[in-house]
């Protein structure tokens, strides 16, 4: 019980740090914000901050992890989506993620630039990032398995979830540069790509 409470308290501190960091990122930008400023805002010592997050990149990773967890919770409680077809389910998942990220667009842009550096922890191909995304990828894998069981698509194996991860990244790229009102270009792109992909999967357009 005691250790459970300790985990809870740790989680609370982590969230408080993230909240402080996000406010500063929004005000000053990702690069200009120092760890010192973050610890001051979160009312903790800089040393304590390092116990939780070694770098700002770790903070960003934690942020993404939290958002992805939020998407998973949202999906699990959405009853209407359970009856939707695969294309709509996947659409709703990415669209909901973008919805959550909307207030932090500038921060995401900075993280994205940083992620392009080969040595960055934020790179989607880094071990750290992949490790943290495992839960999310398993969640996607479950959805794909369900569609496989319904006969909506043929068996795609783990590759399906991995491909989805890359696709999500591509959509995020489009979303970041999308200047259309309400980012509706991204909505159209998302809709069309998913419709095409599920169509090809269903009809065996490609050999897997």
């Amino acid at each position: 019980m005691k250790s459970g409470r300790r985990v809870q308290k740790k989680e609370k501190t982590k969230r408080a740090i993230l909240k402080a960091a996000l406010e500063l990122f929004a005000a000053k930008g990702f690069y200009a914000t120092t760890t010192k400023a973050i610890s001051k805002k979160a009312k903790i010592g800089e040393g304590t901050l390092f116990n939780y997050f070694e770098t700002k990149e770790d903070l960003a990773l934690y942020f993404l992890e939290e958002e992805l967890a939020g998407v998973m919770d949202w999906h699990r409680t959405n009853k209407r989506l359970k009856k939707a077809d695969l294309a709509e389910k996947l659409f709703a998942i990415i669209q909901h993620l973008l919805e959550r990220l909307e207030p932090y667009e500038e921060f995401i842009g900075a993280v994205y630039m940083r992620a392009l550096t080969p040595t960055s922890k934020l790179s989607p191909f880094s071990l750290e990032a992949q490790d943290r995304h495992l839960r999310y990828l398993r969640f996607i894998r479950e959805i794909l398995l369900e569609a496989e069981a319904n006969g909506e698509i043929p068996a795609v194996g783990d590759f399906g979830a991995y491909a989805f991860g890359l696709f999500q990244l591509a959509i995020l790229t489009h979303w970041l540069r999308d200047q259309s009102r309400g980012k509706e270009q991204t909505l159209a792109l998302l809709d069309r790509c998913l419709k095409m992909a599920t169509h090809f999967l269903r009809n065996g357009g490609w050999n897997w």
Binding site: E88, Q95, C193
Partner: protein
């Protein structure tokens, strides 16, 4: 779907894709994708059906086509400049967008209105109940409990159409330079399509017609809810009634059919005579019919302004007024052919028109009735004469755009009356409208 068919659709997709603007930048790209996506060629079959229907119409009334078809004709004269598909799609009178599932419709509502439908309405049906120009219509209930219809446009589709026009412009640079394809013609068609698909413009039209037709108790023009509308979302009062096909399934009596037929004609006459603007989309889906003969007018995307004096046109046309003097003949031809066609050339059409009308409604034969039984031999003769007149007009390019739209609306009205099986005394209605209370205001006054 046969393999060859599928390849055909794919190949077409890629061909159009080459001209396109990336994945979301082209309306034609959407059409190509729809072909690929079609389950067992359903969409393709539908496309073939549309084409066949279009051919029937154009065969019958060759000259009397919409301005978009006119662009198609202009461009096809430059054969080889553009793929056939691009022309056909852009020239199509009705624009179709891919369907939206509930999640996309919800997200697009937010993209255009800044809030999700559930944050704005008490209830919102995620399933659409009708298709609309480039979008779909959902039922909803406002916080105050009012039933509304919410029309949502597919995301980014108007900019996709604009891109296609850029493509048309760049691909037809040479013929534009030489003047074979007037740039103004492309401008006009583009302006028309963009206007028809702009929901702000449609809301304006709705308001105008609602105000003007408010005193006629048997017609309903829905109220616009501006607070829930933008250029891509249009929220209107929900209008009760059935579309033509569904209405006919209820087997309405001949009396009700005749009543509705007469009212449709009256509405057309009021619009052309007094409002100087008319609902120019002949689609039967734009009307809703109620059991007591009430009519709901929906979808005001395509409204055209009228510059001719309709009473004068009626007199010249229906009462053979153009035969009275050369001046009358000149005025009449100006209305049909426009001011730019020389009198000598325009005159060519008169013998054919006269022969047609003489068969259809001989001089001195009293009131003109629509829908009366005609013996088959006479009907054949009338149709042949009509086709001859249309050919003459078409071959000599004797047609004014405004008259084209009038003909299109008239054609739509005739189609509705025919489907209804209504018998209508047209002359009686025109007399009544002419004499009736003139409380209407013209659109630009």
């Amino acid at each position: 779907m046969k393999a060859s068919q599928k390849n055909g659709a794919l190949a077409r997709g890629f061909r159009i894709g080459k001209l396109g603007f990336g994945l979301v930048g082209s309306y034609l790209g959407y059409q190509a994708q729809n072909l690929v996506l079609s389950e067992s060629g359903r969409t393709e079959r539908r496309a073939r059906f549309h084409k066949k229907a279009a051919q029937q119409v154009s065969g019958e009334l060759g000259a009397l086509k919409g301005s978009m078809m006119k662009l198609g004709q202009l461009l096809s004269m430059q054969s080889g400049v553009l793929p056939e598909e691009a022309l056909r799609e852009l020239a199509a009178l009705q624009m179709h967008a891919p369907g939206m599932h509930a999640s996309l419709a919800r997200a697009q509502f937010k993209a255009s209105m800044g809030k999700f439908p559930e944050d704005v309405f008490r209830e919102f049906d995620p399933e659409p109940f009708a298709a609309a120009s480039l979008g779909q219509v959902h039922r909803a209930v406002t916080r105050k409990g009012e039933n509304v219809a919410v029309k949502i446009q597919y995301p980014a589709i108007r900019s996709a159409i604009e891109n296609d026009f850029k493509m048309v412009r760049s691909a037809t640079f040479a013929p534009q330079l030489t003047g074979h394809l007037p740039t103004a013609a492309i401008d006009e068609v583009q302006r028309g399509i963009m206007e028809e698909t702009d929901y702000v413009n449609e809301a304006k039209n709705l308001k105008f017609f609602r105000e003007q037709l408010a005193d006629i108790e048997w017609v309903t023009v829905p109220r616009v809810y501006e607070e829930f509308s933008s250029d891509r979302t249009l929220t209107m009062q929900f209008v009760e009634g059935r579309t033509l096909g569904r209405f006919l399934e209820t087997k309405p009596s001949q009396k009700v059919r005749d009543l509705i037929g007469a009212r449709l004609v009256e509405l057309f006459e009021i619009q052309t005579t007094y409002l100087k603007a008319f609902h120019a989309d002949p689609q039967p889906g734009n009307y809703l019919f109620q059991p007591d003969g009430g009519i709901g007018m929906i979808d005001f995307g395509c409204v055209k302004r009228l510059s001719v004096d309709w009473r004068e046109f009626r007199r010249l046309h229906d009462e053979w007024g153009w035969r009275e003097s050369e001046a009358a003949e000149r005025r009449f031809l100006k209305i049909i052919c426009g001011p730019n066609v020389p009198y000598e050339k325009a005159r060519k059409v008169l013998p054919d028109l006269e022969a047609w009308w003489e068969l259809k409604h001989p001089r001195g034969s009293g009131d003109y009735f629509y829908g009366q039984k005609i013996e088959p031999l006479l009907k054949k003769k009338i149709d042949a004469a009509k086709a001859r007149a249309a050919r003459t007009i078409f071959q000599n390019k004797l047609i004014e755009p405004e008259y084209t739209f009038l003909s299109r609306a008239d054609m739509g009205l005739c189609f509705l009356l025919e489907q209804l099986g209504a018998v209508v005394n047209i002359s009686e209605i025109t007399r009544r409208v002419d004499a009736g209370p003139k409380t209407f205001k013209a659109i630009d006054s």
